[in-house]
């Protein structure tokens, strides 16, 4: 009797991004370092793409009609090098698991997004940025080396000094150069697991922006939450929070016994039901934004907050993405270079005039970009808005904003995008052709493909 071993243990799945706006059918295959090569050999004509925790808002981690490779979280192999101040960990490891290991040892990740539920692989592939971009750059700036599997199943180690072309094409490359297996990156040493936070309520956009510009050099973490429903002289009013890692001496006596304690919990979950239509409408959001703005202190300094409370407040509510209902939502995030402040203002004016039900919006300043060909950050202002994926009015609004942003030399964030066009990516990322050439070198047959790569023309189209 002969037994045949299936090459991959996949199953049919409908996958969507965090915005839940559109799903596609795929073969979802769970892999680890041992089974990855077999799974890559087994990819069908429509190819494969790696997936982390699916926290991208749009379609980069799904591959209609092809395979999606989900890396196992290998938490048992998180290795800290205290001499170099680095950690080496599997690409499938989440920041949630990583922080639980490194914070008690006196380290923090060099860059964290607004959620702990992203993987190291996803952090590199999107070259994620945090509230400290102006001070510390993006995630890829801290990676010293990574191992990845190419389309022909060879495993290569790359870094800023080792095939830098492939390294920087992979940092921000949305999984389209190969599957990252593990990575080594520098950590930030911290004295405590607390943040010392300064909160300031500011009545208009100009004041927020000038305050953010002034604090570039002396504040590590900085972000402003803007109320896009405010108009007139309150246009762009918001709350600015600046923060530093608290030193052990800043802690209250009660906390000082265990300065590096890290305890992240999810408090509530949005039930898996579709909310009644109209739960999110302009009135309810206006009321919410008003309350939230009034609740913020005019100024409060030196408040101690935990890492989850400061960096990952949304993680307290599991699956909050469901509140937008069955249509899902999209996040529109762009950056415009310094000098284009008038464009940023014009964008905010247009959104404000459109009176869409938009909750708080995040405004940040970026420092200079890195050599990643498709890395999103460039020196300038970045704004991110969440909005329900309803076409009426939105399509025309966003197309208009695209033009403003691109004319100003700006670009859109691929980890969030689910709406722009191939032309917008070409204009926004002037080094796209260099990236395409490197991709062609390591994947001439076009094995790596995703819904995003098809939609934006980042990979040659191959049918079936």
């Amino acid at each position: 009797m002969t037994t045949s071993v299936p090459a991959s243990r996949g199953h049919r799945a409908l996958l969507a991004g965090w915005g839940l706006a559109a799903s596609s059918a795929t073969e979802l295959v769970d892999v680890d370092a041992g089974t990855l090569a077999a799974a890559v050999k087994d990819l069908p004509a429509r190819g494969g793409i790696a997936r982390g925790l699916g926290r991208s808002y749009g379609d980069p981690a799904q591959n209609a009609g092809g395979h999606v490779l989900r890396l196992a979280p290998t938490n048992e192999h998180i290795v800290i090098d205290d001499v170099a101040g680095t950690v080496t960990a599997g690409a499938g490891v989440s920041f949630d698991d990583l922080l639980a290991v490194i914070v008690p040892r006196g380290y923090f990740v060099p860059v964290t997004p607004g959620t702990r539920f992203v993987t190291i692989g996803g952090a590199i592939a999107s070259d994620i940025h945090g509230k400290n971009h102006h001070a510390d750059g993006s995630f890829g700036d801290h990676v010293t080396s990574l191992r990845m599997m190419l389309a022909d199943t060879t495993v290569v180690t790359v870094g800023p000094d080792n095939d830098p072309d492939l390294f920087w094409a992979t940092v921000g490359g949305m999984g389209l150069t190969g599957v990252i297996i593990d990575a080594t990156f520098r950590l930030i040493p911290v004295d405590s697991s607390r943040m010392s936070v300064e909160t300031r309520r500011i009545d208009n956009l100009d004041d927020i922006m000038s305050r953010m510009a002034a604090s570039d050099s002396n504040v590590r973490y900085s972000v402003a939450w803007i109320d896009l429903l405010a108009k007139g002289k309150h246009l762009g009013r918001g709350v600015l929070t600046n923060a530093e890692h608290a030193t052990a001496t800043q802690l209250a006596a009660s906390q000082a016994t265990d300065p590096l304690c890290f305890d992240a919990k999810q408090i509530v979950a949005v039930p898996p039901i579709v909310p009644a239509p109209g739960v999110i409408n302009r009135l309810s959001v206006t009321a919410f934004n008003e309350l939230w703005y009034r609740k913020a202190p005019l100024v409060r300094q030196g408040e101690l907050q935990s890492i989850p409370a400061y960096f990952h407040p949304l993680d307290l509510v599991g699956n909050w993405n469901r509140v937008y209902g069955r249509q899902g939502f999209l996040q529109y995030q762009f950056v415009v270079p310094f000098g284009a402040e008038d464009v940023l203002r014009a964008v905010i004016e247009r959104i404000s005039a459109a009176t869409l039900p938009i909750f708080l919006t995040v405004l940040k300043r970026f420092g200079a970009g890195n050599p990643g060909h498709l890395s999103f950050p460039i020196g300038g202002w970045t704004l991110a808005i969440d909005v329900r994926a309803e076409r009426a009015g939105l399509s025309a609004l966003l197309n208009g904003l695209d033009t403003l942003v691109l004319d100003a030399g700006g670009r859109h964030y691929l980890a969030k995008d689910f709406q722009t066009s191939p032309a917008a990516v070409r204009r926004g990322y002037p080094r796209l052709d260099e990236w395409l050439a490197i991709r062609e070198r390591v994947d001439p047959a076009g094995v790596w493909a995703s819904d995003l790569s098809r939609r934006l023309g980042l990979t040659p189209f191959r049918t079936n």
């Binding site: 209609a64 399509s395 709406q419 098809r454």
Partner: protein, 251 residues
């Protein structure tokens, strides 16, 4: 690939000269649309320039709904040339004249062949392609004439009844495949097909059908009635006793 707002990049209109089909296309087009294929029995009549827009490639392809043996190859060729098909609209159809069908059974069979058999094989070929793609949407032009056959057009009505049942079943069979089917049920529409006929109650225009159909397609609805009130009208009409139904002025 469609974007978050369900705006298609590639649209295929089967029955590329259909007035209703073209009105649906008008509503589906956006700056995201890169390719529109007009699949026609008479390519010379396609008037692709009507859709000309920046960044939009309009292709005209010869397509005969009656030639069922060509459909699978035709759809594969479309995909090979234009990539994934995001939305296909099955819009071809012939109304015919019932009194002529009474005397020419062969002509009746030919009409049914286009409306039903041709639509079955076309839709199955598209569905197979979309299954391979893992995404896509098929809009099928049914008709309220299929809801309850009338003496004045029962050959046409019965072909649409068959098509409607087929399309609903197809939609169910595609659950979980990433592919959706939207059945569109217009009432009397002032188009080329009905030119010269006496208008029926609740008659509408291709443009209105286009708007309602496109909105329904975008939302991934299973069924779209145009105008919407027909849904309730037919809830009643289905149960009207036949002697009365026969005498209703339904056009």
């Amino acid at each position: 690939m469609q974007n978050a707002l369900n705006e298609p990049q590639t649209i295929v209109l089967l029955g590329g000269t259909s007035e209703i089909g073209r009105a649906i296309v008008d509503e589906l087009l956006s700056v995201s649309t890169q390719t529109l294929v007009l699949a026609c029995r008479r390519p010379d009549e396609a008037q692709p320039e009507r859709f000309a827009a920046d960044g939009l490639h309009v292709a005209v392809e010869y397509f005969d709904a009656a030639a069922t043996e060509t459909h699978d190859g035709f759809v594969r060729k479309l995909a090979a040339e234009h990539g994934d098909i995001d939305i296909a609209i099955v819009a071809f159809g012939v109304l015919g004249v019932q009194s002529q069908f009474d005397d020419d059974p062969h002509a009746a069979a030919q009409a049914v062949h286009v409306n039903y058999t041709g639509a079955v094989s076309t839709s199955l070929a598209i569905a197979a392609q979309m299954r391979r793609q893992g995404h896509g949407q098929i809009a099928v032009l049914s008709s309220v004439a299929g809801e309850r056959a009338r003496a004045g057009n029962f050959v046409y009505g019965s072909s649409k009844a068959g098509l409607d049942a087929f399309a609903q079943g197809l939609g169910d069979s595609l659950a979980g495949s990433g592919v959706k089917v939207t059945v569109i049920r217009p009432g009397f529409v002032h188009s080329r097909m009905t030119r010269g006929l006496k208008s029926a109650p609740l008659a509408t225009t291709p443009r209105v059908v286009g708007e309602l159909a496109a909105a329904g397609i975008r939302k991934g609805k299973h069924t779209v009635w145009t105008p919407g009130v027909l849904r309730y009208v037919f809830m009643v009409l289905r149960h009207v006793p036949r002697p009365i139904f026969r005498r209703l002025p339904l056009g």
